[in-house]
Amino acid sequence: MKKAKLLLLFISILLVSSCAIKLVSDYDQDTVNKIVEISKMVDLFYLNLVENESLERNYNKFAEDYKLIEVEIRALTLMNKMRPQNEDSIKNSVNLLTNWIEIKNEHRQSDSYDIDVAEIDEEILQDQLLELAKKEMAKQ
């Protein structure tokens, strides 16, 4: 009985205040554009990596690209953080950033990048970007 009264009160407040409930942030086209942009950069990064022979895949050759992509992922994370009710997308972009930094650090430490590892890494990163895009599309 008490619960029913509380529910009635809640609905009345919503009706009187004429506000809708909001559980997820609004769809944002700029975020989708940024995700597509990062996906293209990651794709290009791995295409360049695969083109090089094993001995030529040293870290310095790719250091600049690592930085450029990291900056873009950080910008995407900020864009997600700026929007209220957006925790799932924030966590997704933080997970993407964590994976990217981990890959960069491993490449820097070993000064090499095995093609067998790179092939899986690219698949994982692109899947994470796809999940970010799917989240955004679900908000429409």
Partner: protein, 101 residues
């Protein structure tokens, strides 16, 4: 190597992690794990064939687990949006009904 047994262990480990929430998310967890079968098989085959080291294997699995977490949270967003739309549609109907009175 018995992948079905590996997946069964993985599913049990993950549902144990989610504890009380496990029965509610069992179906989506199974669906996402099914979608990840091919990549986990690929990573495991690379280990078995000596193309990657056990250390690299663990790192790749860890990165893939982060992706699985992202896939789970996409389902979460879809559910939240469906609830949001349903509740707001209900509020709209009630509001219109009140105006009619």
């Amino acid at each position: 190597m018995d992948f079905n047994s590996i997946f069964s262990d993985l599913f049990n480990a993950m549902t144990a992690e989610f504890k009380d929430e496990a029965p509610k998310i069992k179906d989506q967890l199974l669906y996402i794990l099914e979608n990840n079968k091919s990549i986990i098989e690929k990573i495991t085959n690379k280990l078995v064939n000596g193309k990657i080291t056990p250390e690299q294997y663990e790192k790749l699995l860890k990165r893939n687990m982060r992706k699985i977490e992202d896939q789970m949270s996409t389902v979460n967003v879809m559910k939240k949006k469906a609830i949001q739309d349903a509740v707001n549609a209900g509020i709209d109907i009630l509001r219109k009904a009140m105006k009619l009175v």
